[in-house]
Amino acid sequence: MQRFPCPFCGPRDETEFHFAAEAGKTRPEPAGEGGAERWAEYLHLKKNPKGPTREIWVHTTCGEFFLMERDTLTHQVAGSSALGVQS
């Protein structure tokens, strides 16, 4: 069992967390002007990196979304922070 650090609750079992999305995506605004390609990119396309990555996770126990930096190959976690806060 791996433990992930919730910035609000501290280290908790991985089963309490849910992966939401890759970090750094911006929603097409205004919504009507993006076009299908831009929306497809926002909704579906992924960098899916092998190695270090920045992801949005939710801690289902406290309900908070946050940013986590980890490595998809080694599963090592570099850190986590509340959204909108520089990590």
């Binding site: 069992m1 579906h44 960098k47 899916n48 990196p49 992801e55 998809t72 599963h75």
Partner: protein
């Protein structure tokens, strides 16, 4: 020198001390250029090369594999082959695949140990039985075999299933597909490799593709750990590594890589002669020809390239097995492993041209692409040779993510693999 496999050649070789067997394929050095290069020596890549040669007469072809043949998901999968999907597009694809499997051992002159022992998907409530009936109806309308079973018929198929009054997931009935079953995973890869090699295809192992040669906005070949190789067309069939290679080609895909794990027990006497999946536990199992109980379940929910599998999902899968077959609590588990699967939002594959002209995609099979190696190879070969879709692959083009015409099988058939 023995090339064709048969009972007679086995007997003859037995008489002369097995000295006449030849390697099943050559190990040539890469040539500087090919008409087509396929990246990835899993089932889909090897089948693509075979059908390029067989169906389209393209023999100046290479398959480039960074490790060994079938060392990716093909050699790690639990080998269930079935076509019990919901949407007509999916049934057209997976039933085509199943039909090709039905003749494959003979066609390749290779024993792939194809065994149509049937798959039963078990439902646990009246409400789930209604969903089961809906899936059976959809399958029958789509022209494939399916039968709705009551509880007695399910216990007939798998007598060791949990009948206890305290069962957490009681057996109300299930969906039966009798033509479904399994095959030996390595044999499918090796059989295609040997047959493709027989047509003159170069199979190059221990050679990693590290980049693409792009000229005038077109893919003109690949850079590899053994030098540059030029190609008229390039096919990408690297499953969990699709995103890594897409990035080198300058685009992104709607794919997230996850670990999917499986386990086998020590071998025991025959006790289960079908594949059983519980809707309630998400665990599925069958008994291999060697006697091992093979157990699998859902994805590890952490994006990963680690190919090992985390303990929480292992516990979920094994507790599911104990609920389904209480007597299997006596089994000792021998091995656990994981593959690196390419998961797409609608749980359907991506077959079609990529954003880089000259580079074609066969990926996104996720947790369920062993059953479709035959069709995946056939359709990708069609695409590479003709430059356009076969009618079966058209709905699975990358463009569906912009048009919104998703083929959402996770919602449709509700089955993960």
């Amino acid at each position: 020198m023995t090339r064709r496999y048969s009972a007679f050649s086995l007997f003859r070789e037995g008489l002369r001390g097995h000295t006449g067997w030849q390697p099943a394929w050559r190990s040539p050095d890469p040539k500087p250029a090919y008409d087509a290069v396929i990246i990835g020596g899993g089932g889909h890549g090897l089948a693509t090369a075979y059908y390029l040669a067989k169906n389209h007469g393209m023999r100046n072809v290479a398959v480039i594999e960074k490790g060994w043949l079938g060392g990716g998901n093909t050699g790690r999968n639990t080998t269930t082959i079935r076509s019990n999907y919901f949407y007509p597009e999916s049934v057209a694809l997976y039933d085509f695949a199943l039909k090709l499997y039905e003749g494959l051992g003979r066609e390749l002159n290779y024993n792939i140990m194809f065994s149509q022992r049937g798959v039963v998907t078990v439902a646990h409530s009246e409400a789930e039985m209604e969903i089961a009936a809906r899936i059976v109806n959809a399958m029958q309308i789509n022209g494939t075999d399916a039968e709705l079973l009551g509880p007695d018929a399910v216990f007939d198929k798998a007598p060791l299933l949990n009948r206890g009054p305290k069962a957490r997931y009681p057996v109300f009935g299930g969906v039966w597909q009798g033509r479904a079953g399994g095959a030996r995973h390595d044999a499918v890869a090796w059989g295609y490799a040997r047959a493709a090699d027989g047509f003159g295809v170069d199979i190059i192992q221990n050679c990693e593709v590290t980049g693409f040669i792009v000229e005038n906005g077109r893919c003109a070949g690949v850079e590899t750990s053994r030098g540059s190789i030029r190609a008229g067309a390039v096919g990408l069939a690297v499953a969990g590594h699709s995103g890594v290679l897409a990035e080198k080609a300058g685009f992104a895909l709607p794919i997230q890589s996850y670990s999917l794990q499986a386990m086998v027990s020590e071998p025991v006497k025959p006790c289960l002669d079908t594949v059983v999946l519980y809707l309630g536990t998400g665990t599925y199992l069958f008994q291999s020809d060697k006697g091992e109980i093979v157990v699998g379940g859902g994805l590890d929910r952490v994006p990963s390239y680690a190919q090992r599998g985390n303990p929480p999902m292992q516990r979920t899968v094994l507790s599911g097995m104990l609920e389904m077959f209480p007597s299997f609590g006596q089994l000792k588990m021998l091995r656990q492993w994981a593959g690196n699967v390419d998961v797409v939002p609608d749980s359907s594959p991506i077959i079609g041209p990529s954003p880089l002209p000259g580079l074609f995609l066969n990926c996104g099979w996720g947790t369920g692409g062993f059953k479709s190696i035959t069709a995946g190879g056939w359709l990708m070969a069609h695409l590479i040779a003709t430059g356009s879709h076969h009618e079966i692959s058209r709905p699975f083009d990358l463009d569906r993510f912009a048009t919104g015409r998703l083929v959402d099988e996770a919602a449709g058939s509700g089955i993960a693999h």
